[in-house]
Symmetry: C2
Subunit: 419 residues, 2 copies
């Protein structure tokens, strides 16, 4: 069994000026990990000839597979492609099949004026020493090179084009070409306990883990995912993982939210489909973010009825029928208000379950009594509601995200426990 | 005037398995660019001693400033900090002021059981050869080292802690320590024209640009931002930029959406505050995403009343009063439906302006007549509405994002032209 290492090189000034957040590398790394390829390094360089050349040399020295994204756009000053031709001792030629594809796209999909511009035609040029990886969803093709036993793959930086080429061409090619180890994962999510306290609790568990298995702490949005990973022979790995995952689950039983690696919005959909029930949201401080999370799941129209974002108090009163007296007496950010929002939204939407939130996300709007980060969350059905007060202490963006994920967690728990 | 180069090193296996998307590097790069520091390379390495050491050596060879994030969490196997101590020929000592701060945080902010765990105490250890950069918002302090004329800064990987240390300590230090060039920017956003066609149109403009000024094409979400950048002596730069920006604006007048570098949700807020008007959204396919964008802006409660997410057709009928006949005759994804949604939501929310969207985001729900990606957008006030049909051809996530940004663009245009 070989250990196969990969490096990811991203090319483009836009990454070095911070214009673009690099989501491609995370996707590539995840996909490679799933098939048993270890990503050793990730490097970002600008549209500078010497920098790209040096990065290719450096990464080829440590990795078997070098994945390159970016540097192929129509206004990229023609640096990357000629450089690749030279690096692999070839020359640029027009690739007729790609040209036909680009022509087709402009004519029938983009519906842009013909004839093609020179820069568009150039997208169909490739070094004569590469294997072209057809890009069905865009104009710049992927290119595969081999040199000194290393494999180099160049892909466009547009995320959906890169993903297409990875899934259609690159991952199948790697699986065929290399004898890869089997990699097994088991993941669970904890809520309400910090990373250091988890680590303290799991000290002995970690010490007693078989050497084949590694435990990773993956904190995100105030929750910590625990992941067991092992690689080796499939049957042995699966059995070992199963046994140790069961022990881990027992150790964190009181703080475990899900025993698999899915988001709460996906879990919510599964719970609701199982019960043939529907859900709605009444949102103040999250401004539609919870509904957005729920509807980011394909097929959510099966169980999601809709939402009212009651940002202004008049909407809380007029549509959700929150009492004016309540708003005056205890304010919009209160347990009473979110409880009444649940009742109101369930009636308006004729749904089975609801979640309601009201809080102060900042930077303004806080007071001594209700500082920025104060949030009331309610979840419920037509029979009962449950409420929780949260105190976040971050910026507006993160406070909204944390409110959203906590609201979905409480909603999932409520639905799971509702028989 | 020196040219100051920086490298960013991110440490952590979570980046190499794709668990985490690296947003820190983009923030750091943006902030450094603003003050005239050029980011030469970004490198991500795992929690592996030799890899970190080599990255420090490599980056110190090419950059004046090396910014390091990550590798400092409580379960990080104690690799990075001891390595930094050794790399800079020091030893780890307890930093009493940091320990007092960590103790305070656990006692008064996190409200966690005392006494501190060993791993929490360890967060207050630092190499005795560093300058401690106090982290007011977390437990792991920043650390500044100098070696052979290079400056190294180590920061925690938690985004808001990194941002705090950058803004409080690192950026002021760099500005004081180095004589930096003045960097000027002028940015505008175009809509409805591809990068290659823009480049074709601006070919002569680019050829005639003074050598001090660079033009960058920054495509994102189907729109292309054009940015002029120049560095040098402030007054000269400002004047040159102003002149050339005016020429650029004339060249793209017909496709320009905004002549500055802001988002449509921020522009929307500014337009509404200027006119003392309010806005609402009626969303089907975007599921609350447009409301989420609007409310991501601090102070949006001043002009945003609320939203109805009418995912289910019953909500379109019952709350927004879309005609049942319309839904039966032409369907929910139609010009008539979004027009009626505008009328309905304006009445329900008692707002001045509204945007309504209905479409098919995929992967399911498409038909030959209305394929996935078909979207109707309407914007309007109590007097008139304008509609637009869009055809996107991406995955669910991107279709939602593109619908959101286009809806906000149309809304801003409508409000700007409404006198």
């Amino acid at each position: 069994m070989q250990t196969i290492n990969a490096s990811i090189i991203t090319i483009g000034d836009e990454l070095l000026i911070g214009q673009v957040i690099d989501t491609n590398s995370a996707f590539i790394a995840q996909e490679l990990n799933k098939i048993g390829v270890w990503v050793k390094r990730r490097v970002a360089v600008g549209d500078v000839r010497e920098e790209i050349w040096k990065a290719l040399d450096n990464e080829a020295a440590v990795s078997d597979i070098i994945l390159i994204t970016g540097g192929l756009g129509p206004t990229k000053d023609d640096i990357t492609k000629p450089l690749l031709a030279e690096y692999f001792s070839g020359k640029l030629i027009m690739h007729e099949a790609t040209l036909a594809h680009v022509t087709y796209l402009f004519e029938h999909v983009f519906k842009r004026p013909m004839p093609l511009l020179e820069v568009n035609r150039k997208q169909a040029e490739v070094p004569d020493v590469c294997t072209v990886l057809k890009n069905d969803v865009g104009t710049a093709p992927g290119m595969l090179f081999e040199k000194n036993g290393r494999i180099f793959i160049s892909m466009p930086g547009v995320p959906n084009e890169m993903k297409f080429i990875m899934q259609r061409h690159v991952l199948p090619m790697i699986k065929e070409k290399f004898e890869l180890p089997y990699i097994g994962y088991k993941t669970l999510m904890t809520v309400g306990i910090g990373e250091s306290f988890l680590a303290e609790r799991l000290k002995n568990f970690e010490l007693n883990l078989p050497s084949l298995i590694k435990l990773a702490y993956l904190p995100n949005h105030g929750m910590v995912r625990l992941r067991l990973t092992a690689q080796g022979e499939k049957q042995q790995i699966e059995k070992l993982l199963e046994e140790n995952f069961n022990i881990l689950k027992q150790q964190v039983e009181d703080v475990m939210a899900i025993d698999e690696d899915i988001t709460f919005e996906i879990l919510l959909g599964r719970l609701l489909k199982d019960k043939h029930k529907t859900v709605t949201t009444a949102e103040s401080c999250t401004g539609g973010y919870i509904a957005h999370l729920i509807t980011s799941v394909a097929g959510s129209s099966e169980y999601f009825k809709g939402s009212v974002v009651s940002y202004d108090n008049s909407i809380k009163e007029n549509i959700l029928h929150v009492n004016n007296e309540t708003l005056n007496a205890v304010g919009a950010v209160s347990e009473e208000t979110v409880q009444q929002m649940i009742t109101g939204i369930l009636n308006v939407m004729k749904a089975d379950y609801a979640v309601a939130v009201s809080g102060i996300m900042g930077p303004g709007g806080g007071s001594a009594e209700k500082p920025v980060g104060t949030v009331w969350i309610a979840v419920g059905n037509h029979i009962k509601t449950e409420t929780k007060k949260m105190n976040f202490r971050f910026d507006r963006k993160r406070n909204i995200e944390l409110t959203g994920i906590n609201a979905l967690y409480l909603l999932c728990s409520f639905i799971r426990n509702d028989n």
